[in-house]
Every structure is written in C-alpha cells, then in structure tokens.
Amino acid sequence: MTKEKFIADLQEQLELASALTADTNIKELEEWDSMGAMVLIAYVNENFGVGLNAQDIKEISTIKSLIEKIGVDKFD
C-alpha cells in the first residue's frame, strides 16, 4: 500500500472532517478518542498484520510516526 492510500483510507475509517497529512498529529484531532484508537488498531492489524498495543498507541503522534511504528518497509 502507498502512504497516500493509507492516509486516505485512515481519514475515511476515522470519519474525519478535515484532511489528514503525514504531519497531522492524530491525538490533536477533534475526533480522536478511544473508539478512534480501536478503529486504528483494527485497520492496521487487517492491512499490515501488525498488532499495535496500548504502549504503541501512547507513543504515536503524527501520521508519520504511525507509519514508522508500522514499519516504513511495509509501504510501497
């Protein structure tokens, strides 16, 4: 998956009003809450086979940092 598609998909899954970019801090989004975290965990698990745990969620901030957590090599 390309990073662009990942970002677009995530925006759709999280049902965000504003556009996501690599620099968006996900925790600062108005829509970010525990359900958002659940959606993110499920989406990443399904599409990358990576299980993010509570500590991972704590550590991520920007979408870029999320991509690094998943593993840059997993993107096209």
């Binding site: 899954q13 049902e15 659940m38 499920a42 399904e46 509570a54």
Partner: protein
Amino acid sequence: MINSNKNYLITGCSSGIGKALTLSLLNSGSNVFGISRDNLKVQEIIEEYPDNFFFKSVDLGAPLDLGNAVEEFVAKYGKFNGMVYCAGKEETLPLSMYTPAKLAELFNINFNSLFEIFRLVSRKKSCEDMSSFVFLSSVMGELGQAGKTGYCATKAAILGLVKAAALEFSSRKIRVNAISPGIVDTPMAQQLFTLIDDSNKQAIIDMHPLGIGKTEDIVPLITFLLSDDSRWITGQNIKIDGGYSVK
C-alpha cells in the same frame, strides 16, 4: 458429584476453561469427545488418555459436517450424557470495521457451531435422557462494552437459545444452561491484556471485587451443572464473576 463413566462432548478442549474441564472429566473417569483446531495443543492429553479422549480437529468458524464423527463416538463409547461448548473467540472491533464475512465467522465460532453441535448431540439416538448441556456465555451477554458489539451479540444469542431449548427438552429431563464468567485468567484474557495499558488493566481487575478468576474457579460450577445434583436447574444463565456484575 461424580461424573465418572459418562460421555461428554467438549469444544475448546485445547486451552483455558475447556482444557481444564476436559482434564477434570477425564481424570474422574469420563470419556470426552474433544474439539478444537490445533492437534499439537492437545497432544499431551491424547498421550495421557489414549482410550478415553476422542479428538477431532475442527474449525468451528466454518460450516460443520460432524454427523459421522458423533455417530462414530456413540458407536464406540455409548450415548452422550452432556456437552459443554467452551470454544469461543473474543473480538474487539468497532461496528464500523465489521464486514458481513467477519460477523459470520464470529457468529460461526461463538454461536452457529454451538447450535449445530447441540442439534446433533441432543438427538435421541445420540444422547441419554437427563443429559446436561452447558454453554459458555459471558457477563458480556447481558452487559455492553464499546468495541464489543459482535462479541456481546453472540453471547446474548446463547442466552436466548438456552431458555427456549430448556423448554423444548424438558420432557426428556434434559437440562440446558449457560454460564457467564467475568474475566478468567486464560490465554484469551492474557491476549486481551496485551492490548491495553497497565492502568486500564488494573481498572478491569478492580471491577472484580473478588479479583479475576482462574479456570479452577469455573470448572466446579460446570461439573455441578453436568451432574445430577443440579437436576432441577434448567434454562438459567449462571453468573460466575467474582462480583463483577453486581457493582
């Protein structure tokens, strides 16, 4: 409360509550038809009880074809005296992430396969009158939790089945009950705990006034429900949760 020389079908025999129950029944002299997927996880049980443990590796997440296996067991050991459905899948998934296929798989494991095996085993030719059926629901069968829409729905479905089936089978004195545990320390709960942070984990533990459970806290309730000592109990959902649901 001795269940010796009886025949039981136990799903989920390879892990957690189902495994502890299987070992307890085998140890007290019963024959067990065990079902789960992974042969390796039950190798020790097969080796320890080669004559009394009849194992089939089955994926309960897919449609079943178990008629012949049930007949094979009955021909070898005699009719069943009961069944305990312990197999189950816990799933934390927001409603928006479900697909029909995902929901179908979860329902297959937690409910549809239970229904189908119950149907096969409860036939007159397969089980004795006065048999006992025990199905693992969960405190989540009556309560709700965000992210657990699928799981809660499957566990609530079991409670509906138990009430109607108890009436349907009462003329044969066959009893049908559900038990609903709170958190029990098994691989399922351990997996759940890896996904949440320590403060949330502690909060969940604290929600159980008597602490979280162990498999050996659950097995005696199931063996009681399988035994004739519980002969006047049917159609019930028995909570066993260290006080979780009264808080």
